[in-house]
Amino acid sequence: MNKSILYISRRFGFYLIAAFAALTLNFIIPRLMPGDPASIIFARFKGKLKPEAIDAMRESFGLTNDPIITQYASYLKGILQGDLGISIAYFPEPVSEIIGGGLIWTIFLAGSSMVIAFLIGTTLGVIIAWNRTGKLDTILPPALAFFGAFPYFWLAMVVLYIFGFSMNWFPIGRAFGNEVNPGLNTPYLLSVLYHAFLPALTLVFVSLGGWMLSMRNTMISTLGSDYITFANAKGIPSRLIMLRYAARNAILPNLTGFGMALGFMLSGALLTEMIFSYPGQGFLLLQAVQSQDYPLMQGIFMTITLAVLGANWLVDIAILFFDPRTRR
C-alpha cells in the first residue's frame, strides 16, 4: 500500500469518526431543549389558533414521541438519503433547500476571505521574518495584532457605516444587487464581488495578523536550521534561500493550522453576515434557534461541520503535495 494513499485514507477515517460524533451531538442537543415547537407556532399567532388544531399539526411535523432510539435511527437514515426533514419555521420547505442556498454564500465568504488572509498573511510573515528585527518587523506585528484585537462584528459595523452608508462607496448589504438576475453572467458575478468586498475585507483584516505571526515564528525557527546555513554556504542567492529553502519548510505547520482555523473563521463569518445581511448561514441559524426549529438547526449545524471536515480533508491532501515526507 503506497504511503500517500495510506495517509489519505487514514485522515478520511478520522474525519468519518468526527462527522459521526458531530451527528450524534447534533441529534442530542435540540432534543434537550425546553418547550416544543407546536406550542410556539400557536403562540406566534397570538391566540388565533385553537388548541385542538395544534395536535393535528404535531403529527404533520412528525414530532412523534416514540422512543429516542427509533427517532435516532430514522434521523441517521434520513441524513444518508440527504433528507434533513421539513423546517418548522419555513414550513413546508424541506430543510435541505433552505440550507442549500445559505451554505454556498457562507462557504464563499468564509472560504475566500480565509484563503486571501492566508496568502497575504504568509507572504507578509516570510518578508518580515526574512529581515526580522528590522523596521517592518517592529511596526507590522503590533499594528495587525491591534486590528486583530477588535471583535469581528464591531469592525464590520464601523466599516459598513463609514464605507457603505456615509461614503456610499460600497453597497450596504445582501449578496448581489436587486437588478441583476442570478446566473453565470458577468454583471451578476461583478455584483457578487462588489457586495462581498466589505464583509470579506473585515474578515481578512481581523485574521491577517494571526497568519502573519504564526508564519513569522515558524520562519524564524526554520531560518535557524542547518540546511539554511549549508544553502548559504553553497552560494545560493538569498531570495532563492528565502523561498525554496526556508518558506517551503516553514509553511507546512501553517497549512495544518489552516484546516483548524476554518472553524474559527466560520464563526467570524456568521457574525459578519448578520451585520451585512449576507444570505449565509449566520442569520438562518439564529432564526432557527429562536423559533426552536429542530430540523433546520440540526441541518445547519451539520452542514457547517461537514463543510469544515471536508475542507480539512482537502487541506490534508494539499499537505501531501507540499510535504514529501507524507508522500513516500
Binding site: 500500500m1 531560518l223 536550521s225 542547518d226 540546511y227 552560494g235 545560493i236 525554496r244 519548510n249 514529501p324
Partner: protein, 557 residues
C-alpha cells in the same frame, strides 16, 4: 613553507548578547598549504566551528567578525564585497556541515539540491546537470537512482556521502570538513574518511578537517592545530604532537586516550587485586526480545530491536556491552531498568523471576537495586531543580533518610563523586555546572539509593575527551569500595577494554561474541569483533588496504 593556499591571521569573532558581547574566537592564526590535510582539534565550545564558519563568512547573526583577515589564494575574503563573496563560495572553498542529518533540505529531492549548485555556479541545467550529478554520486559510491529520493529516505551514512558529493560539485581547491562523521558509527566513519582521503589523492584538493577526536586526526592529518577556549594553543606537525607537543593541555589530551590495541597501559583505572565472583548471578537475562510495532492498522512495519539476548551478571563485576548505534544496546538498558516491557524473555534479579508488566507497577524494591546513568548530561538533570533536590527526592521516596540526615549524606555523596566542596554544589542549578560536573551529579543520584547494579548507558560519549577517564574512574572506584555491579554500555571498544572485566559485542540486537576483555581484544574470534577491534586501534587506515604512503612513518610506540 611553500605558498599557503589559506592563511588566517588574528581572526576574532564576537557574539552580541543582551548584556555584553562574548568573545568566541580570539586572534586565531594559521596557514594551510595546498594539498595538505590540516586538522583543527578542540573540545565542544572551544570555537573550532566558529572559526571555520567565520572563514566562509556564513556565521548567522548575532555573530560578527571583529578583527582579522583570511586570504584564500591570496584574496582576502574579509575584504570581499557582497558580489565577490559569491565566487568565493563553492568555487574556491566548500564545506561539509557538522550534522549531516539535516544539512539537506527535507522538502527537496537530492537531484534538485545538486542541480541548484550546478545551475548557479556552472550554469548546467537539464541533462548535462543530471550527468554531472550521476558522476558525483558514483564518486561517493551512491547508486544514481537515489537522485529522486528525499533526505528522509536515506541513512545517515548515505546523507553524509551525498553532502560530500555536493561539496565536490564544482571541484573547489579547498574543502572544509566540520566534524563530518561525529554522528555516525565507528565503522561507517572509517569508511567515509578513507573515501575522502582516496578522493583527495585523485582530485588533489586541500582538506581542513575539524573534530574533537584527536585520535582520529593522528591517523591521517599532516599538520594540526589544537584549540582551547577560542585560542590556538598548539600548532605543529602530527609527529611532534604525537610525542606530547609543547602545551600542557596537549599532553593531557594525548595521555587520556585509551587505545584498543597493543599492551594494556598500567594504572589507567583502578582494578581490584583479585576478582572473585559469587556462584549465582545477581542479574540474569534469558532470551530477551523487543519488537517495535508501528501503531496504525494499515501497515505492520516490524522492527526487531533485541533478538534473543541472554547473559548473566555477577555481583561486583563490570560488564561491557559494546555495539554500534542501532545494535539494541540502549534498548537492553531500558529493558533491564524496567523502563520498557520486553516482548519476550525474562529478567531474573537475585534469582527471583521478575516477569513484570509495564514499568508502572514495578516493585519499589527492584527500583532500589537497579539504577541508571544516562548519556546526555544536559538532559538527565531537570534544569528547574537544584542538585540537592535531585539527590534528596529518591531518598525521600524510598524513605531511606529522614530530614535531618539528608543534607550531610548528600554532601558526602557529592564529594564521593569528586564534587568538592559538596555543600556548594548541592545549592547549584544544572545550568550553573559544566557537562562533566552534571554527569557526576547524575552518578551521585544513581548512587544515592545505594543500588547493587548501575546501568551506565554511554556515560562519557558526550563529555570532553580530557575528563572521560576521570568519570570512568568513579565507576571503577565504586566497584572496588562497595562491590558495585556495573553494566557499562558503549560504542567505544577502547574504554570498554579498560573499565569492563568482560565484554559482550552486540550487532543487530543479537550477541556476536562474549569473553573476558583482554582475551576478546587480543584474540577476537568473530569477523565483526575483529573489524571493531581494528577500527578502534591506531593504524586502522592502513589495515583497510589503502596504499597510503604516510603509513610507514608511524609505528606503535
Amino acid at each position: 613553507m611553500n605558498n599557503p593556499i589559506i592563511s588566517v591571521n588574528n581572526l576574532s569573532v564576537e557574539y552580541v548578547t543582551g548584556i555584553k558581547s562574548v568573545q568566541a574566537v580570539h586572534n586565531v592564526s594559521f596557514e594551510i598549504n595546498s594539498g595538505e590535510i590540516f586538522g583543527l582539534v578542540g573540545e565542544s565550545g572551544s570555537g573550532k566551528s566558529t572559526v571555520v564558519q567565520a572563514m566562509m563568512r556564513i556565521l548567522p547573526p548575532p555573530a560578527l567578525i571583529s578583527k582579522g583577515n583570511v586570504f584564500i589564494n591570496n584574496e582576502d575574503i574579509m575584504a570581499a564585497s557582497e558580489a565577490d563573496i559569491i565566487n568565493f563560495r563553492w568555487k574556491k572553498i566548500s564545506i561539509v556541515m557538522q550534522s549531516a542529518l539535516n544539512a539537506l533540505n527535507p522538502v527537496l529531492s537530492v537531484r534538485e539540491q545538486i542541480h541548484d549548485v550546478l545551475k548557479i555556479h556552472k550554469g548546467l541545467i537539464g541533462i548535462e546537470a543530471d550527468n554531472r550529478a550521476k558522476e558525483l554520486l558514483s564518486l561517493v559510491d551512491i547508486e544514481y537512482n537515489r537522485l529522486d529520493s528525499f533526505p528522509h529516505q536515506l541513512s545517515g551514512g548515505m546523507k553524509q556521502r551525498i553532502v560530500i558529493a555536493i561539496a565536490l560539485a564544482i571541484m573547489p581547491p579547498i574543502i572544509i570538513m566540520d566534524e563530518p562523521t561525529t554522528a555516525l558509527d565507528v565503522i561507517v566513519e572509517r569508511e567515509i574518511i578513507s573515501k575522502v582521503i582516496e578522493l583527495r589523492k585523485k582530485l588533489d584538493f586541500t582538506i581542513l578537517f575539524i573534530t574533537h577526536d584527536l585520535n582520529l586526526l593522528l591517523e591521517f592529518a599532516d599538520r594540526l592545530a589544537i584549540m582551547k577556549d577560542g585560542e590556538v594553543v598548539e600548532l605543529d606537525e602530527v609527529k611532534n604532537i604525537q610525542k606530547g607537543g609543547k602545551h600542557p593541555y596537549t599532553k593531557k589530551l594525548i595521555g587520556s586516550i585509551p587505545s584498543a590495541s597493543g599492551v594494556r597501559q598500567k594504572g589507567l583505572l583502578t582494578k581490584p587485586d583479585k576478582l572473585t565472583f559469587p556462584k549465582d548471578p545477581i542479574l540474569e537475562v534469558k532470551d530477551l526480545e523487543k519488537v517495535f510495532q508501528s501503531s496504525n492498522i494499515f501497515n505492520k512495519q516490524k522492527l526487531v530491536a533485541v533478538n534473543g539476548v541472554s547473559f548473566k551478571i555477577f555481583k561486583g563485576e563490570i560488564i561491557g556491552l559494546v555495539g554500534e548505534s542501532g545494535s539494541g544496546k540502549s534498548t537492553i538498558a531500558k529493558l533491564v531498568t524496567r523502563l520498557m516491557r520486553p516482548s519476550a524473555g525474562s529478567i531474573y534479579l537475585n534469582g527471583k523471576n521478575k516477569k513484570v508488566t509495564e514499568s508502572r507497577n514495578v516493585p519499589l524494591e527492584y527500583r532500589k537495586t537497579v539504577q541508571m546513568v544516562f548519556q546526555d548530561p544536559f538532559g538527565s538533570l531537570n534544569s528547574i531543580h537544584t542538585v540537592y533536590h535531585h539527590l534528596a527526592r529518591p531518598l525521600f521516596r524510598h524513605k531511606l533518610k529522614d530530614q535531618t540526615e539528608m543534607f550531610p549524606y548528600i554532601v558526602h555523596l557529592l564529594e564521593k563523586v569528586g564534587l568538592t566542596p559538596g555543600d556548594k554544589f548541592a545549592k547549584k542549578f544544572p545550568h550553573e555546572m559544566s557537562g562533566g560536573e552534571r554527569q557526576r551529579v547524575a552518578i551521585a543520584r544513581a548512587l544515592s539509593l545505594d543500588p547493587q547494579i548501575i546501568v551506565a548507558d554511554e556515560p562519557t560519549s558526550m563529555l570532553d575527551v580530557s575528563i572521560r577517564m576521570d568519570v570512568l574512574e568513579i565507576f571503577a572506584k565504586m566497584r572496588k569500595e562497595n562491590n558495585l555491579t556495573v553494566l557499562f554500555i558503549t560504542h567505544d571498544l577502547a574504554s570498554a577494554r579498560y573499565l569492563a572485566d568482560r565484554i559482550i559485542v552486540l550487532k543487530n540486537g543479537a550477541i556476536v561474541e562474549e569473553n573476558a576483555s583482554e582475551k576478546l581484544i587480543q584474540s577476537p574470534k568473530k569477523e565483526y569483533t575483529k573489524q571493531l577491534v581494528t577500527a578502534a586501534s591506531p593504524g586502522w587506515l592502513s589495515s583497510l588496504g589503502e596504499n597510503f604512503e604516510k603509513k610507514e612513518e608511524y609505528n606503535d610506540q
